[in-house]
Symmetry: C2
Subunit: 347 residues, 2 copies
């Protein structure tokens, strides 16, 4: 490291947290006067100056957003969703004079190390996080260190997501599966199965809730049947096919809604294209094979992320600020209806 003093150096010298240093620089009114003086003295002594590019974010002229590029999955079908989000984010950021800087990380701890390097070096002024999960240490670190950031994904596991500790944007997967299930109900189908992931994934549990809600409010089947109409599998075409065979061996199914296009493709191949399916993510695979899928509005997600980063919130939750704008955006997905996997199986 060496060279320029950092926020950490100032925090150490003043005996306060990095968050406090950040508050002194950005919202001095909320810091107690004696603390503020101590921090300001440390800033003078060390000759610390907030980097030019970091200042740019605050004046909203030009700035750089850091985002981790997730490793490619073996499966590859659904991985493209985050790539599509990256395209939307980069295009819209460009129009606002913001740049997108990519980095990689082997896991959450490694990603935090990257946050540290990129924010200390003032290479990045704000972060966008994807693939959030229960007890995510990354958001904790960023809050503690006073960094501007927005997550694509909810802060799973808290009670009131409209009053979060950080800004977030997410897609309403529950609404997506509800719409998908209603589509089949409207066609007069009743025994609509659900192929989802094992319990415990926030995203998966949310999508499942949409299927349950639609089935119950339509009184499509009784509760005992509902329990039989559900199968879980890890994500993947082969796993989806196996789950579909278990489901079909056990009971009669009119149609199946799925937590992903991988599971949907598995279900399609296992049934030889005879049972209509709806997937999730509207991947190129769904489009090219012609089966229906729930499409995430990634342009709207990117717009929401940039809105929260550059708007009134400026990328941070400030409890005392009295900002009226909500701290999150929950955007509705759209069901893309297609003829139904006509390329699969005999015609």
């Amino acid at each position: 490291m060496g060279g320029q003093p950092t926020v950490s150096d100032v925090a150490d010298a003043a005996g306060v947290s990095r968050q406090t240093v950040s508050n002194v620089l950005n919202t001095p009114a909320i810091v107690r006067p004696e603390t503020r003086e101590r921090v300001e003295a440390a800033i003078r002594t060390l000759g610390y100056r907030p980097h030019a590019s970091a200042r740019r974010l605050r004046t909203q002229k030009s700035s750089t957003i850091g985002i981790r590029l997730d490793p490619l999955t073996q499966d590859g079908i659904s991985g493209s969703v985050l790539d599509r989000f990256l395209h939307s984010l980069t295009e819209q950021a460009d129009r606002k004079g913001l740049r997108v800087l990519l980095f990689t990380a082997a896991g959450p701890e490694d990603e935090i190390e990257q946050f540290r390097r990129l924010s200390d070096g003032a290479d990045v002024d704000a972060f966008v996080l994807t693939s959030t999960f229960h007890g995510d240490p990354r958001t904790e670190w960023l809050i503690e260190h006073g960094q501007s950031f927005v997550t694509f994904g909810r802060p799973w596991g808290i009670d009131d997501m409209t009053d979060p500790l950080h800004l977030w944007v997410d897609v309403d997967g529950r609404a997506g599966l509800r719409d998908a299930t209603r589509h089949f109900l409207d066609l007069g189908l009743r025994r609509i199965g659900y192929l989802g992931w094992p319990e415990g994934s926030g995203t998966g549990d949310d999508r499942r809730a949409g299927w349950l809600e639609a089935m119950r409010s339509a009184r499509a089947v009784d509760e005992a049947t509902l329990a039989v109409l559900e199968e879980t599998a890890h994500d993947g075409v082969t796993f989806g096919a196996a789950a579909m065979r278990r489901l079909a061996d056990r009971t009669e199914v009119d149609a199946v809604v799925c937590a992903s296009d991988s599971l949907a493709l598995g279900a399609l191949t296992a049934s030889g294209g005879r049972v209509p399916v709806i997937g999730y993510d509207d991947t190129p695979v769904a489009a090219s094979l012609g089966f229906s899928s729930v499409r995430q509005p990634l342009d709207a997600v990117a717009a929401g992320v940039l809105d929260l980063l550059t708007g009134a919130h400026g990328g941070r939750v400030r409890p005392e600020s009295g900002i009226d704008d909500p701290r999150h955006r929950l955007v509705a997905p759209r069901l893309v209806v297609r003829e139904g996997g006509s390329l699969i199986g005999g015609r």
Copy 2:
């Protein structure tokens, strides 16, 4: 712009090109002494200093690579290749302490405008270009302005690509289609069709040459038959299906090799899975449907790009430098053989 003087300001003041200013800064030995003195005087007068981050590239400590993120295509099947390349590039750049900065552009002229902004602001120290084409104005601009860059894609249209005006990495598509065709020949098939793009695309013509070469060297069919076994179409599943129907209506075909997975999927669906196909790019669609495809070794491409940017050449062709290392890398693709689209058509 205002603020810091740029290379352009120095060039204007000294009455020379930006390339000459760049040469004075980087390879002063090749500049005539009186020109060098004039440029050095302008540098002093204007108070120009090469930006810290630009200097970092030359000392190879830490640096930023700019790359245009291509817009998503409607089709989406093959577009993922450049996304996969971006993943490889970012991962390998990260390991070398280099960052990847993304931008977008509506066309070549717009991309050049971005080059100008990013190099003037010293936000980016080197560029990576994708999707090169005949008479590409982007490479011309970058050479003229003394920028470090490497293209993923050959400088199509020059006679000797081993002596190029800029550094490049590409995949040997000709070898890929030759291997694909030989695979069918080795199975005893003879009437192997080719589905490609209309003439004039460097990439497409290169792939077609591989099919022709394999067919001719095996004396699989006579020249008249060879002409009948070829069909062209714009890229896309529907276009591929139509081309396959034209081909099958006209003549008997044992198997088909294609310039893309989109065309291959079209061919598969048009034949109901009865004619074996090999696609190109090994997309998630090929993997999930189980048909064979030629895989571009994108990790090797990314390694080659970084090698040319940070190695002896340092991202620039310097005719006088006597560097022994070749100015390009042509990497061989790999044929991924699968059972053959068993998910398509009746089983």
